[in-house]
């Protein structure tokens, strides 16, 4: 099992956002769906320890998440947040930063291609990208670390249909490669069906 959650509880602003939540996430591609505000983003951030639960336990590949060194875990289990947040500079400098943190060689062209971007994007300044392009640059940056698991938080929520289709095409390709497991949060059940082998519904 990729992730195993037992009796997980998270309090935010004095109330429980997640309570006694349990789930099993296998290898492959899993889509987490549920209405806005049920705690999907909160849950995803627990999986690479950007936050820790107040109650309960989470295991990754059979070992408690807390036994992993958080920085190393985050390179292996990469999270792409809902809104793009690149570092100042070019797309390539962002990819390079990520690759160096993970101790990986960077093949910028191949990495961009996997995220559905053509090689000319390497030299582009991130402040001159559309939101859809930034979102794909975020995906490319995560891939530059050669993660084993990708956590994607509503990767197409801020995008128009054309941009959404390009991201989905890139994700479908990654899913076919079987090198990386995907946990994808979506509020769109259609998208979840298109991209997930398994669908995990979060009750309202």
């Amino acid at each position: 099992m990729l992730f195993e959650l037992r009796e997980v509880g998270v309090d935010r602003g004095g109330r429980a956002v997640l309570d006694s939540f349990g789930a099993s996430v296998p290898d492959g591609s899993t889509a987490i769906v549920g209405p806005s505000g049920v705690g999907k983003s909160t849950l995803l951030r627990l999986l690479n320890r950007l936050a820790d639960p107040d109650r309960g336990e989470i295991a990754y590949r059979g070992r408690p998440l807390t036994e992993y060194e958080p920085l190393a875990l985050r390179r292996e289990v990469a999270l792409v947040p809902q809104l793009p947040a690149l570092l100042e500079g070019t797309v390539e400098s962002n990819l390079r930063y990520a690759a160096e943190l993970a101790g990986e060689e960077l093949d910028a062209e191949a990495t961009l291609a996997r995220a559905g971007l053509d090689p000319s994007f390497a030299a582009r300044d991130v402040s001159r990208l559309s939101v859809g392009e930034q979102q794909r640059a975020m995906l490319a940056r995560a891939l530059a670390q050669r993660p084993r698991v990708l956590l994607l938080d509503e990767p197409t929520s801020a995008l128009d249909h054309a941009a959404r289709d390009r991201i989905e095409a890139a994700l479908a390709e990654l899913r076919r490669e079987h090198e990386v497991s995907i946990v994808l949060v979506s509020h769109d059940p259609e998208q979840a069906r298109r991209l997930g082998d398994q669908i995990l519904e979060m009750p309202a």
Binding site: R49, A51, D52, P70, L71, L87
Partner: protein, 257 residues
Amino acid sequence: MSTSIHIAPWQVAASLVLVGLAAAISFWQRADLERDILVATGRSIVQLTLVGYAIKLIFDADTIWLVLLLLAAMVFFGAITARHRAAKVPDSFGPLLIALALAGASTLGLVVALGIFEPTPRYLVPVGGMVIGNAMTASAVALNRLGDEMADARSRIEATLALGATAREAAAPTVRRALRSGMIALVDSTKTTGLIFFPGTMVGMLLAGASPTDAVRLQLILLYTLLGSVSISALTATLLAYRHFFTQAAQLRDPGS
């Protein structure tokens, strides 16, 4: 420096005419500052008189221990004052206290060790006061900026942490900007000193009858001393304080908790 001048109480009283002028302008143009001007004038008389007596006491006693006590008190109250301007930084008092103490001790220690000033109350009290006062302003500005920038950059910092960056690496651009804003005011005013304004020490020396050469030299020494103190305090405060935004596991703390 053997210059000395005498100022009689009536001279101070006469200068109150200008305070009256300020109040009249405020009243006439409805700037609504008359009360503040009154309070400011009253406080300046009381505070400076008290400090004057304290300094006289310390000069008369002529022991280094009283000087150190006074400087320690300045560091303590400076950190308390600066903390209010760094309200968005969790537990900023500790970093500010250490920053002011370090800035004061190292710059005063250096100017004494280099033989620029003698370690006597006559030098240590005024120079220490300036050093600690400027260090306080610089670290308060730096931490104020740090608090704002950390709030603005939350999503970018967390996205960087998500790549496996350390808290230090994720906060580096923010820390850099906070440090810059703490130091920039003094660097800028050092650039324009003498052109756009005459710095206070030089004015005081000239009024007290010193030669322009001496006044300029002393002013330069003080400016450079302040540059050192301002950098040390802004650096120390930001480097100690940014950690308070993160947990041990390199997670960004919830601002509400």
